[in-house]
């Protein structure tokens, strides 16, 4: 055997390993492909062998080949074989290969379910670790469904490493199996407060990812995140939380208000740029109305942009562009900086600066900026940047209805100039701009038509580039404008001839169709003029020209072109016949295209309301049963063409079917009436309307410019002259304030624009066509239903329903024997009438608090819980618990919901009083204001509690402090100690719902000191988050009829315990208590201490001084006290599952042992247990009759395990821990409590 093994090893040595493969590939540079093919053959050989190590080696090589682009899906089965190895090293190779090559459609994945489940529950932490890592890459809906439960179990593992990974992978599970989200959510929420930073960070990460897509469902977590934000020091966590808030704040404006302070504090204080940047982002997204904060952000951003670090510059510009949307003025003041960034050598930065340009333009500088961008465009390398520039020029010029354009001639020239840019993809955009301007700015039409005619004449330049979306698209616009506004053409005949050039046939089909259509328009108008001049000769000749040239279009491969050309040719022939007969046809032909056109509003089509009784999804004719397959190719050609032209029309904002004059007139009337009565309609300014009329009727300035600069030189218009013109003009107007008799007539201009002192020369019509009864809201359609995140959109605050449990593998028989709707799996253990008991259970819950639970019942309860667990997991570990919720009573549910809502509302509203308070504190104690913020809110809730005390107990901020929760728990009749593992599974929303209040008087508040006028009780609170900090919460009660004020709290610090004071104060300075005490009232203040040593109990001497304000004057008094810190106070009750507990005990980590025996005061074991749990912060892990094991953990992470036994009236406690002193001190303290 051994010999065989050695032999195997030796053989393996001679195999090619990964390093050899890499080396080989490097040595065969010239015939790499061949060499790799050989290697793959070898690998196939190796995979066929029995030896696991050989296989693993082969798979390892495959991973490398996969990276080089070789498909390794054929080896999927072998990869699974390697994954199933018992050796960690080999298994890991398998999982890596799987994560590199498996995906949802890898069919062998369904074989892996059980193997992965086994690995997840492996004793070796790293086995489970790699399984989780691997699974995260190839999880499928099936795997997610089958393994969700196992992963849930790992979320409560004792090892942070596994918890962390399990929490993180849940996100992937949710994506694949959304049904898991609700059952898993309570536990996920729990992990937000995990003692381990990594786990916490993972949970924050997952919730942030979830909330990014469906923020409204996570609003209720805001208080919790707020707390985390103010307490966490981990920048990664902070960044994620702050990012999360930026998604939440738009939904809840009150949250934004609450965030102002902590965010601005962070912005001021943090040195981490990443954090600063995210804070700024959240301020922008969340509280855009808070001008002071925005100003601060803009200032900080300027610093970022001015930084020499290009990354900061980039991010600064990015954030700036977000501010631009809400506060354009604040950004505009940094115009210099942004324009400077346009010249940056870094393209990413230039692109970002371009985004900002949008907000920088004004009437005055538009021309300059566009000029600058065009210069950039000439210099720019790479089409991407050039296209961006082009798009940006169009965008800034056309924004808000060409608001900033004063001279449209200039703009048309710019557009014409842009057509000379090579290789652009924005031909269509330029074309639609040309059309839009020509249609909507009536005064510019003559000029535009002249320019377009020039373009047509030079069409050969543009037609060369006939790629889709290329610059040739402008010809579409040119042809249409020349045809539609042919009355402005100087020489229609020339234009017509230009459009009939054979070169045109090389253009894309949809452009040719427009050419054909507009040839007809031109034909009509020319005919009409000729007819007026009675020029029969030319008319005939014109018809001749068309009938000879049109056939080139008739032969077109494009059906649309062909159809139109045929139709036209016949028409022309008919007209020709009529002319020969001497009939007058000019008017009739012209009548074909009479009437004005308005652009159609974007989305108008979609907004046509569906008439009542029309079902769009119903078949008009039954669909053909089967279409023959050879028909398909033709339909697809049609489809492409169709789509192509349709999308173009949409962009061009124009109706295709042309209504008759009459109809148009009628519609126009209708529309006008409608608009008059519709308050939402943006009516065209009367003044501007007048203006356009004036310009139309009067001699438009265009002509004059045309005269001064001859445009008919070959080549196209240049926009530069307008820039000069504009500046000259401005100078002139500066010199002469009034010059009414200038050649540019300005009296038609609306007066209100004079604030800009540059007046627009042309009016833009804002008239657009909209269907009647259309919905005017611009809201975009809902998200695509195929979006995976839509499935994750669910209400997480609703208590779980019975059927909402994670699917668990179980034997069929068991499932069958279940009654439908019975959420508790029947336990098989000794209890026979469990079903009845279950029912009793339910009833009991219904009347909760009124009936006394018998001990026996509790037990059966508990047993049924654990028994069902056994069944559900199918293995012997009791750690697994169904996530189903046992008590969904509708009434209670409602109550819980309502309370929850109140809760959030309360937290949100809470801040209305808070800021004033905290700012007061802030002045004196800027350093500790985080704590104080907490304190004061705590006070609020305390007060609130008091007022409501008599009515009903109201859960305060959920989970706000562990202690709160605990005291609520203590309100249950059986106090904390009896909490069974199954109960801990109850989601917090339920757990926090208090039943009736019947308190066994267990209060952890201990008297600290008192005199005639004041009494202090205190309690100590610990948190998982801060291992070095505890909070002492002191309740000050005023026993007098007078007001007490100026309370000052001070202690003598020791090396171990230090009071956290405000910055700048020495350790002698007292801390001011931030409230006054009204007569006979009480209030709570919290003081934070840092702790270094927790093994021994501590005591601090301290004094409280205050001023008692009486009618006859005030007196200064003081109370001395001793603040005791027993060891138990450094423990944090931590839930622990049975199996985790056992592993912990077996691990051998707990080296220190100690035990104690005494006779307790109480005889009832339950009460003893409850006291231990309540006063000493333990959690019950397991209880069997009069034995119980309990668990707790110190704030510094030392576990403490106790076994409590009752032997003949005596109590014996055995304890194990990693820290001996702590353990024995705790035991002594327990003894003191119980004896």
């Amino acid at each position: 055997m051994a010999l065989k093994k050695v032999k195997g090893t030796l053989e393996r040595v001679l195999d090619k390993n990964l390093q050899d493969l890499v080396r080989g590939i490097r040595n065969h540079k010239e015939n790499e492909g061949k060499y790799i093919a050989e290697c793959i053959d070898e690998i196939k050989q190796e995979l066929r062998q029995e030896n696991q190590a050989v296989k693993a080696n082969a798979v390892n090589k495959l991973i490398y080949l996969q990276m080089l682009g070789y498909d390794i899906s054929w080896a999927a089965f072998h990869i699974i074989e390697v994954m199933s190895s018992t050796k960690y090293t080999i298994k890991r190779i398998g999982y890596i290969a799987a994560s590199q090559s498996f995906h949802e459609s890898t069919d062998v994945l369904m074989l892996t379910t059980n193997m992965i489940r086994k690995d997840l529950s492996s004793q070796n932490m790293y086995d489970a670790g790699i399984a989780l890592s691997g699974l995260s890459c190839f999880v499928t809906p099936d795997l997610a469904r089958d393994l969700a439960n196992d992963i849930m179990t790992l979320m409560t593992s004792t090892r942070p490493y596994l918890r962390k990974k399990a929490v993180l992978i849940m996100y992937k599970v949710f994506l694949q199996f959304p049904e898991a989200l609700r059952p898993a959510f309570p536990r996920l929420k729990e992990k937000l407060e995990d003692p381990d930073q990594g786990v916490q960070s993972a949970a924050v990460n997952v919730i942030c990812e979830l909330a990014r897509k469906n923020p409204q469902n996570y609003l209720s977590l805001a208080p919790l995140f707020f707390k985390l934000m103010t307490s966490s020091t981990n920048n990664w966590v902070l960044i994620k939380i702050i990012k999360l808030f930026s998604a939440l704040t738009p939904l809840e404006p009150r949250l934004g208000k609450k965030l102002i302070e902590p965010l601005t504090n962070l912005i001021h204080s943090t040195s981490a740029m990443s954090l600063l940047y995210e804070c700024i982002n959240t301020v922008i997204a969340g509280i855009p109305n808070h001008t002071a904060s925005i100003q601060l952000c803009v200032q900080k951003l300027r610093i970022l942009i001015e930084d020499s670090d290009q990354n900061l510059k980039y991010l600064g510009l990015l954030a700036m562009s977000k501010i631009l949307a809400t506060h354009p003025k604040s950004v505009q003041s940094h115009k210099d900086l942004i324009l400077q960034c346009l010249d940056d050598k870094d393209e990413s930065i230039r692109l970002r600066a371009l985004d900002l340009i949008y907000g920088m333009v004004s009437k005055k500088n538009l021309m300059e900026i566009v000029k600058k961008l065009m210069v950039h465009m000439d210099k720019a390398e790479g089409t991407h940047y050039r296209d961006e520039l082009l798009a940006k020029i169009v965008e800034i010029s056309s924004q808000s209805n060409y608001q900033y354009i004063t001279n449209f001639e200039w703009y048309v020239s710019v557009l014409v100039e842009l057509t000379r840019m090579e290789g652009t993809r924005h031909g269509r955009m330029i074309a639609s701009q040309m059309l839009d301007v020509a249609i909507r700015v009536q005064a510019i039409r003559p000029f535009a038509v002249a320019q377009m005619a020039l373009l047509l004449e030079n069409s050969y330049i543009l037609a060369n580039n006939s790629q889709r979306n290329g610059i040739c698209e402008v010809l579409y616009a040119a042809a249409w404008i020349c045809g539609e506004f042919s009355q402005h053409l100087k020489n229609p005949r020339e234009a017509l001839e230009a459009m009939l050039k054979p070169k045109i046939t090389t253009l894309p089909g949809h452009i040719q169709s427009v050419f054909v259509q507009n040839i007809l328009k031109l034909f009509g108008s020319i005919l009409k003029t000729l007819e007026e001049n009675e020029d029969q000769e030319n008319m005939k000749e014109l018809c001749q020209l068309l009938t000879s040239k049109l056939p080139i279009f008739v032969q077109s491969a494009d059906l649309e072109v062909q159809e139109r050309a045929c139709c036209m040719l016949q028409l022309v022939k008919y007209v020709q016949k009529l002319i020969e007969k001497g009939a007058k046809v000019g008017d009739e032909v012209g009548g074909l295209f009479a009437g004005d056109l308005n652009p159609v509003a974007p989305k108008a089509q979609r907004k046509v309301p569906v008439p009542e009784g029309l079902d769009l999804d119903k078949w008009i004719n039954e669909p053909l049963s089967e279409s023959s397959s050879d028909e398909e190719p033709t339909t697809s050609i049609f489809a492409i063409n169709h789509e192509d032209s349709k999308s173009f029309y949409k962009e061009e904002k124009r109706n295709v079917p042309e209504p008759t004059e009459e109809e148009l007139e009628k519609r126009r009337e209708q529309r006008k009436i409608e608009q008059m009565h519709n308050p939402h309609y943006l009516r065209m300014d009367k003044k501007s309307k007048k203006a356009s009329k004036v310009e139309e009727t009067e001699e438009s300035p265009v002509m004059q410019i045309d005269l001064s600069i001859p445009l008919h030189v070959p080549g196209l218009a240049s926009s530069d002259k307008y820039l000069k013109l504009a500046s000259q003009d401005r100078e002139k107007s500066r010199k002469k304030t009034k010059h009414g008799k200038q050649k540019k007539k300005k009296k038609g201009q609306p007066e209100e624009e004079s604030d800009e002192d540059v007046a627009a020369q042309h009016a833009v019509s804002t008239l657009v066509d909209m269907p009647e009864g259309a919905n005017t809201s611009d809201k975009e359609d809902e998200r695509n239903s195929s979006d995976p995140f839509k499935r994750l959109d669910m209400d997480l605050d609703q208590p779980l329903r019975d059927d909402e449990i994670l699917p668990v593998r179980s034997h069929r028989i068991v499932v069958d024997s279940l009654e439908p709707g019975d959420e508790e799996v029947k336990p098989k253990k000794k209890h026979k009438k469990v079903k009845d008991k279950d029912k009793e259970e339910k009833k009991k819950h219904r009347k909760e608090g009124k009936e006394k639970k018998s001990k026996k019942k509790q037990k059966s309860d508990e047993a049924s819980g654990s028994a069902s667990n056994l069944l559900m997991t199918g293995e012997s570990s009791p750690e697994h618990v169904p996530v189903a919720n046992g008590l969904p009573q509708s009434a209670e549910q409602e109550k819980a919901d309502q309370e929850k809502e109140n809760d959030l509302d309360f937290w949100m509203n809470n801040n209305s009083t808070e800021p004033s308070k905290t700012t007061e504190n802030e002045i004196k104690t800027p350093e500790v204001n985080v704590e104080y913020a907490n304190v004061s809110s705590e006070e609020e809730s305390q007060k609130e509690k008091k007022t409501k005390k008599k009515k009903e107990k109201k859960p305060k901020k959920e989970k706000k402090s562990k202690k709160d929760k605990k005291s609520l728990r203590a309100d249950y009749e059986e106090a904390e100690g009896i909490t069974t593992p199954s109960k801990e599974q109850v989601p917090p929303s339920q757990a926090d719902t208090p039943a009736a209040v019947q308190l066994p008087s267990m209060s952890s508040y201990v008297t600290l000191g008192e005199n005639d006028s004041i009494k202090m009780t205190y309690d100590i609170r610990t948190s998982h988050q801060r291992g070095d900090q505890i909070i002492v919460s002191v309740v000050f009660s005023n026993l007098t009829e007078h007001t007490i004020k100026d309370l000052e709290f001070n202690v003598m610090e020791t090396m171990n315990l230090k009071l956290i004071r405000s910055m700048g104060s020495t350790h002698h300075d007292p801390i001011k208590v931030p409230f006054i005490l009204l007569p006979n009232s009480q209030n709570e203040g919290q003081f934070a201490f840092t702790v270094h040593e927790i093994k021994v109990a501590q005591k601090l001497k301290g004094t409280l001084t205050y001023i008692l304000k009486m009618n006859e004057g005030s007196t200064h008094e003081k109370v001395d006290f001793k603040l005791g810190f027993p060891c138990s106070f450094f423990l944090v009750a931590t839930p622990c599952k049975g199996s985790g507990f056992t592993t912990l005990l077996e691990s051998g980590d707990l080296t220190e042992k100690s035990s104690i025996q005494f006779t307790p005061q109480d005889s009832e074991f339950q009460i003893i247990l409850a006291k231990v749990c309540f006063y000493h912060h333990f959690r019950v892990v397991e209880q069997v009759e009069k034995n119980a094991s309990v668990y707790s953990k110190s704030i510094q992470g030392h576990p403490v395990c106790l076994l409590i036994k009752k032997i003949n009236g005596d109590i014996k406690i055995d304890g194990k821990s990693t820290e001996g002193n702590l353990l024995s001190n705790v035991l002594q303290e327990i003894k003191t409590t119980l004896v």
Partner: protein
Amino acid sequence: MIKAILVFNNHGKPRLSKFYQYFPEDVQQQIVRETFHLVSKRDDNVCNFLEGGRLIGGSDYKIIYRHYATLFFVFCVDSSESELGILDLIQVFVETLDKCFENVCELDLIFHVDKVHNILSELVMGGMVLETNMSEILTRIEEQSKLEKSEAGITAAPARAVSAMKDMNLPQKIKDIKLPDLPNILKN
């Protein structure tokens, strides 16, 4: 979410590719080529963020990269990640590699892709940042390599000897990756 992590050298040769979203192999290669094309033409003193690149696509995505000596480390992330945070994560990744390989150089990455994968899986899991604390990462890696050694045991000795022999003909390793002292923007 991180969509992909790529490492390639100055000539565009892939040294590590990890996709957290499925692409067929040929598309992966195309992405690597395209990304290389985008990244390689940029100067060293420009910013480390890039938009565009149609394959990795979507306006929500961004390329964040760092250039160390002969290697480019490229992360493609969406808007839920902090840009500067990811830059720091790259730094953590490279520093971890440096610790694990003792002065990491391109050759280390070439010959020990598997090890690089293992290290990466301690930082990022399924496209989400798992751990950023370097000492924690290093402890985990050490523990795993201990486990590896204990499993290999005595039987691995001959294999190690042979690979040592093979290593002798290896051209002298060039330790050329020097970590520049970047300002640690994000320190835990």
